[in-house]
């Protein structure tokens, strides 16, 4: 079981993110929970492509005589990180406009005020 420790780290990330998403009442804390889930999934994508005892897939000044890790999950995780930036920026901007309109960031109170 101690060989699978990267997968357990991914589960801890996703578990903490879902806990923050379900049980907290502040809008900024909910945004942090969404960001935690995204980072956990990116870590999982990268740890799927590892070969034991291999080096980075770059030919400039590489150490000789060793195999290379798989490069495709690294290329697709780049795209996923940038999409995470776009999502987090939009969530925080909408939270700022809600604070200007309602005066509070508590999720229960926002549901009850009208207008």
């Amino acid at each position: 079981m101690i060989n699978n420790f990267p997968y357990i780290a991914v589960i801890i990330f996703i578990g903490l993110g879902i806990y923050t998403l379900m049980f907290k009442k502040n809008l900024i804390k909910i945004a942090i929970g969404i960001c935690l889930i995204e980072n956990g999934v990116n870590l999982f994508l990268i740890t799927l492509g590892y070969r034991t005892g291999a080096v980075a897939p770059i030919y400039t000044h590489a150490p000789s005589g060793q195999s290379m890790v798989l490069p495709t999950p690294q290329a697709l995780t780049l795209t996923s990180i940038v999409i995470g930036i776009a999502t987090t920026a939009l969530i925080l901007s909408v939270a700022m406009m809600i604070y200007k309109h309602y005066g509070t960031l508590d999720v229960d109170k926002i549901r009850r005020l009208r207008g």
């Binding site: 400039t60 000044h61 780049l78 940038v82 925080l92 901007s93 700022m96 200007k100 005066g103």
Partner: protein, 158 residues
């Protein structure tokens, strides 16, 4: 946001040029070392965020203009799309400059080698286009959210 103290402003004046130059180094050498367009663009945008924090959002608008950053971002994305259409004789996104002998067209030595910057084909040009777009996009996001923080503040005694 208000200005920070004199020590912070002095160190920012000394350091932000080096951060911008390091970001451009990471963008341009994307086909030889780890890095590329997205990573180098994020490094340059962190220099912009340092400027916004230490000088205040309303004072930095004379140095970082929002209109110039917006035009840079559109130019970056347009250059990326034009580069992808230029190889349409064979297929979409065809690397028509690789191994051809003209601009960025040397053939690379197979195996482990110190890098030759003249190789790569259309990849360094795409790196520059995407790097311009990412640095302008992240700079606009940081600047507009800093200005908007003044706008959405609740009045203290109402």
């Amino acid at each position: 946001m208000k200005q920070m103290s004199k020590i912070v402003r002095t160190i920012t004046n000394l350091v932000y040029g080096f951060i911008i130059i390091f970001g451009f180094y990471v963008i341009v050498h994307g086909h030889l070392t780890p890095g590329g367009g997205f990573q180098g663009g994020a490094v340059v945008a962190s220099a912009f965020a340092l400027l916004v924090i230490s000088y205040g959002a309303l004072n930095i608008q004379k140095l970082l203009k929002k209109d110039l950053l917006s035009i840079l971002e559109s130019c970056g994305l347009t250059m990326f799309i034009v580069l992808s259409f230029l190889g349409l004789g064979i297929t979409f996104f065809y690397n028509f400059l690789a191994n051809s002998g003209s601009w960025f067209g040397d053939t690379a030595v197979i195996g482990i080698n110190p890098g030759n910057m003249n190789t790569g084909g259309v990849i360094p040009l795409m790196n520059i286009a995407v790097g311009l777009e990412v640095l302008a996009a992240l700079g606009v996001i940081v600047l507009i959210m800093a200005i908007g923080a003044e706008f959405t503040k609740k009045k203290e005694n109402s």
